[in-house]
Every structure is written in C-alpha cells, then in structure tokens.
Symmetry: C2
Subunit: 233 residues, 2 copies
C-alpha cells in the first residue's frame, strides 16, 4: 500500500485561520513537507509550528526564488522524488501550503509530478484575497459583480486594459511591481479608491491607501479595488 | 459597552472546512444569527450545528429569495435592528455566513447597516472557488495567470465576451442559468474543457464534465475552466 499525498492549505498566516481539517491532518501526519527559501525561513512551517508532532518526519524543500525556471524545476524534481520515496514506503505525506494549495500555490508543481502515480487529496484554505478583504473591512463582490484577479508582474499595458474593464480588482504578487501598478491606477483615475494590504491576518499587518504604500512592497502584499456601489445600502 | 459584531465565514459546507477561529468564536458566542429561507432550512446553522452551545441566544433571519429587492431589503432592515438590540445590550453577535462573508455573501447587507455604529470583525473563510478546485483536483492559477469570477445571471453576450478574453474562469451562481452558460462555452469551443462541481465538500458532492451537468443545476454549483497549460510540468 502506497501512502496518500495531501496538499494542506494553511491560509494567509494567522494559524487560527487554518481549517479544522488542516489542523487534524497536520497533527496526525507521519510526514510533513514544506517549501523554504534556501538557508531561510519556511513561512508554511511557521504557520503550522504548534501542530507538528515531535516524532513527525519532516521534508524541508529548499526552492530557489529566481525568474529562471531551470533551478526551481530541478528543485521540484528532487523534492518530488523525496516525497515519492515516503509514499512508496506506505507513509502519507502532508505538504504544507501557504494560502490555498491550488490558488497561485507552488504545491501544483508537486501535484503535476506526483498525481499520476499516487492518490492525492487537497484541503482548500482561506486565500489572501478574502483575508485582505476581511482585514480591510472591504466587501469584495455581491450579486452580479465580477471579480478579476491579476498578478502584478503582468505588463503595464495589459494591467491597464484589464483594470479598466473590470469591476472588483485584486492585484496579487505586488512586491517590486507596486510602482508600475500605482501608475496604472493613477492613469485610470482609480488610485484613490484602491487599498493596499500587507501581511493580512498577521500581527504586523498594515492597511494603507494605495497612494501611501511602500515601494518596493513586501512579497506578502495585495491591492484591492472595489468599484461596485451597493444599491442595497 | 456595546457588543461587537462578527461576520463568521463558515466555508463551503463541510464543517471541518471551518477555520479554527470561526469554531472558537461560535462555541463562545452569546448570540448567533443566521440567514434562513422562510419556513426552510438554514444551511449556515447546519454547518455550525455541532458548535452552537445550548444556552446561546439565536436570531434566525428569514430572508425571502426573490429577484425583487424590496422584500429582502425590508428583511435586512428588520434583522439588523434585532442584532442592534443585542449589541446595545452589550452582547457580541456572531453572524454565521456560508462560504466567505465578503465574497458574494449576504452578510454585507448587515455590514452596510451596522458597521457605522458598531465595531465589526470579519473572519475570512474558504470560498466555494477553492473548495471546488480542490474537489475537482484542478489547480486554478499559477505564476502570471489571470482569474476571472463571473456570476451566471450576467447576459449571454457579456458572458461570451468576458470568457473569451479570460484565462481561468469561475462561474458562480450557476443554478437555472446553466443552459445559457453551456451555450456560451459551446460557442467558444471551450465546453469540453469546463468542469461542473455541485455541493463541493459535502457528502453529496458531484463533479461532472459541463456537457453532462443537470439543467437546471442546484443553487450550490459552479463551473471551472482552466485554460492555462503549465510549462513547468
């Protein structure tokens, strides 16, 4: 009997925003695996820290953060093989995933390598999208409103075209792209309505008007724009 | 001292997909409030059933489901007043919300009526979007891919234009609009790539190719289309 691979979503950062299911599976796991920056912290491991039992086997996956693909591809190949060895030995493996495993999560690179061979279960989680909306007290969408999620690295012209035709807009992966994003919002006359949220749900969370957001922004930051006026008010 | 209003997101239906924070706040609540169909069930109350203590005060909010706005507006006015009376008496009120309170959730109509007067905290939750993706084992988006969320009641021409220019597409509120939605996907040559998910995370969950989905579909159903091919595979 081979083991089962779990993609366990941990939510945006506050350990209490983990689901009951995620907490149960992590506490009972034979093996946990989690991404980490080489020689750096693992945010995923930190979120789950209070739940990982002392005798749990741990696979720390060092993933280089580069814009080149080859080094990260090699890292996913290598770590998928380490996980496969545990599964082949009959042990379930719980992969700890920041946010939601299938929403801009790196778990999908392990999923692509392992799901053809092993049984997989995904535990969905709270995304940064609704965590930021909750922190900013900003309802995202109602009734027939559309929501558009855009990654910050997209080219300036494309961002402009997509935001212009959108209703609610969520900008992910803001980081060093914030200057470009702010120019786009300014050009569209929307900058004063946009809200910047950094490290939502963590003690160091910050919520600022976009005009006052830092440049560069940290990796865990997001911009929300809600155009919809609600006639039910 | 007035009480505090909590918007407690419950997730997609499986009680284990509630967050630890939601579970703690519901178990300790003096007052819980929840929407219900007149003379019908409350899905929100059912998700939280095992957590509501016997001595908790309960506010059942009957909300008529109509396309006319006036009856629902009157119901939100009336129930906001009932909640305000509890808050004025110094009791915290936990409003139970299916999915996420601020993502197409009816809690925002209470928020609009009460947040100017009372302290509010929102506990974000797992949306049906990532719950359906998890159930269907369908990674939603990676890297610079865009995600577009569209409500099913939008006009056919608008759906067509929005889906054509999109990458990952999430169709909410499918229900009786499924025939129209299917026609749009067929016209765009995308129907065979679209996945229909019904009652994600519940025991009666069903996952079908869009072509085989029922018409009408139940209220709790969604269609996912992921166009992105992943070159990291």
């Amino acid at each position: 009997m081979t083991g089962r691979l779990y993609g366990i979503s941990l939510g945006p950062g506050d350990p209490e925003l983990m689901t009951l299911k995620a907490a149960r599976l992590i506490a009972g796991a034979s093996v946990v695996a989690y991404p980490a920056l080489p020689e750096g912290e693992s945010f995923a491991r930190a979120i789950a820290a209070d739940l990982v039992a002392p005798d749990t086997r741990e696979i720390r996956m060092d993933i280089p953060m580069t814009t080149e693909r080859a080094p990260a591809q090699a890292a996913y190949d290598r770590n998928a093989a380490r996980i496969a060895a545990e599964l082949d030995a009959g042990r379930d493996v719980a992969v700890l995933c920041e946010g939601d495993a299938f929403f801009y999560g790196s778990f999908m690179y392990l999923f692509a390598r392992l799901s053809g061979t092993y049984a997989v279960e995904i535990v969905p989680g709270v995304t940064s999208v609704t965590a930021c909306a909750a922190s900013a007290l900003l309802p995202l969408a109602a009734r027939n409103e559309r929501v558009t999620v855009l990654p910050g690295p997209l080219p300036e012209d494309e961002l402009k075209a997509r935001i212009e035709g959108a209703e609610t807009v969520v900008l992910m992966k803001v980081g060093r792209h914030i200057g470009k994003i702010r120019r786009v919002f300014q050009a569209l006359g929307l900058a004063e309505h946009a809200v910047y949220v950094e490290r939502a749900s963590l003690p160091e969370q910050r919520i600022l008007p976009l005009e006052k957001a830092p440049d560069p922004a940290p990796y865990f930051s997001m911009i929300l724009l809600v155009k919809g006026a609600d006639p039910w008010l």
